[in-house]
Amino acid sequence: MSALLSVSGLSKSFGAVVVADQTSFDVEQGAAIGILGPNGAGKTSLFNLITGALRPDAGQIVFGGADITNVSAAERCRMGICRSFQIPQPFGGMTVFENALVGATQGAGLSGNSAEVHAVEVLEATGLLPKANVRAGALTLLERKRLEMARALSARPKLLLLDEIAGGLTDAECGELIDTINRVHAKGTTIIWIEHVVHALLAVVQKLIVIDFGKKIAEGEPREIMGSAEVKEIYLGVDPDA
């Protein structure tokens, strides 16, 4: 397998706040990777750097063999990188269906009937079809989180970046979400998922990356990572000597 996404030496800081510090990692084609880290560790900033919403101070991002470090966010989406926002950013004045149609027509480059069919499929897969004609601004928080996922999928991403979409769900809803993500993954979409709900994450990903203060501090097998003393201390706040 070749690396779909390759991040090397990525650095970004806002004044004294370092959100990415020489971060490097590879994501294989078809992989599912989880990212863990305490609040403010730079997880969402990492997504902003990968999607092009932020420009790095240093480092390189290679996607599908092409250097995309200086490529615009819109172009990266058309190349196949799409993300969901941690704080939902619905197109509030448009209906749920139209939200998905934006991704289908702009990101995936579909038109006419095939765009509409794809948007309907995505809504069906994410359980939003009954809400298709509702204005996105009128959705509940949970529905907005689902819409984030639906909209990201509507752009037909090769690499799907999910930013904390399981928070606040009931166990049943969380189970549904895991099934949905697993189905997307099974179709060949590569996934990077930032999540605090660890059991949900572990049901999907084969690899974990832990970051703290913008620095990658661990990377590897989920079980191994969750068992490591350093991760327990930094991430779970457990003192290993106690």
Partner: protein, 342 residues
């Protein structure tokens, strides 16, 4: 399971289409049923309606809150005078050419002012309009600071009789309004319109979904500027006289237009139409009160902004689930129930 069907027209939009078509026929026949003063007023209403629709597309959808569109109204007016007097063009050809020239001028202006965000952008557009005003005031061939009148020969080239000219001027204004509303409607209905509506709601999400925000905004700015110049040409073809202060008036061509769009409902196609009707109803009722009419306009604007921030049309749409221009998509599932649009 049969696939859900996607439609756009609603019963209200079908009725609105029929009513609008009938209304348009009646308005086209106005030279045979309306008086001279009424036709003049209606012509002015069409031109304001056009300006409002254009400003709404730019500010309400593309988020380009310009307070300097008088730059293009004045530019269009002055191009009418310059191209007819010195270029020997027919007035209608001059107005079309003014639109093309405005499109060309708007590109470098856009690359300059698009660097500014929010309030700075608004101020920048105003500064550009002032630069336009001061520049045209320097051109002594066009009357300098005191302006000039359209020569009689050029006025006669439209039509030899006064009633013929008035009818033509009326039809041009009506045609311009239909052209502008049609253009804005077709644009919003297209794929690009969908992208523009997405930008209206969230720029961050729009660019993350593959929409080139800068280019989309530039397209909107160039098209609205060109059409605004066409409307400017028509305005001064009605007035027959131009001066820098009248041509580049921020009050006449921007403040009133913003008032119309805000009270009607910004970011909707129906809003500017309703706003224009309300504006002229107030203006015609209160015209005799002098300056206090402006104070009343201001008070109305403040009340609408506080009580109905989405404007009169926003209020109606939320209450009755109406859409006169079929822009929305509706998904019909098996039972025909897709939830209601709210």
């Amino acid at each position: 399971m049969s696939a859900p069907a996607v439609t756009r027209a609603t019963r209200a939009s079908r009725i609105a289409t029929v009513v609008a078509a009938l209304g348009l026929v009646v308005l086209m026949l106005a030279p045979w049923w309306a008086g001279r003063a009424d036709m003049r007023l209606m012509g002015e209403i069409y031109l304001y309606l056009s300006l409002a629709c254009l400003w709404n597309l730019m500010a309400g959808y593309a988020g380009l809150v310009s307070v300097g569109q008088q730059a293009y109204v004045g530019f269009g007016g002055y191009m009418l005078f310059a191209l007819t007097v010195f270029g020997g063009l027919h007035p209608i050809a001059a107005i079309v050419a003014a639109g093309g020239l405005a499109a060309v001028v708007s590109v470098p202006v856009a690359t300059l002012i698009f660097r500014l965000k929010g309030a700075y952008f608004a101020i920048g557009t105003w500064v550009v309009a002032e630069v336009f005003r001061l520049s045209f005031a320097q051109v002594s061939a066009l009357g300098g600071g005191s302006g000039s009148s359209l020569p009689v020969g050029i006025v006669r080239s439209l039509s030899s009789s006064r009633s013929g000219r008035e009818a033509l001027s009326y039809w041009l204004a009506l045609g311009a309004a239909v052209l502008v509303i049609g253009t804005v409607y077709l644009f919003l209905r297209s794929r690009r319109g969908l992208a523009l509506t997405a930008i209206r709601d969230s720029e961050a999400a729009a660019s993350g979904l593959g929409i080139d925000i800068w280019r989309t905004k530039l397209e909107v700015y160039v098209v609205t500027s060109a059409l605004t110049a066409v409307i400017g040409g028509l305005i001064f073809l009605q007035k027959l006289r131009i001066s820098p202060d009248a041509a580049f008036s921020v009050n006449d061509w921007t403040a009133f237009v913003i008032f119309i769009v805000v009270i009607g409902g910004i970011g909707t196609l129906e809003g500017p139409i309703i706003g224009t009707l309300v504006f002229f109803a107030i203006r015609e009722t209160l015209a005799d009160f002098g300056t206090s009419y402006l104070m009343i306009l201001g008070a109305v604007a403040i009340v609408v902004m506080l009580k109905a921030p989405k404007g009169i049309w926003g209020l109606i749409r939320d209450r009755f689930d109406l859409e006169l221009f079929p822009l929305s998509y509706r998904v019909h599932q098996n039972g025909g129930e897709g939830g209601t649009l709210r």
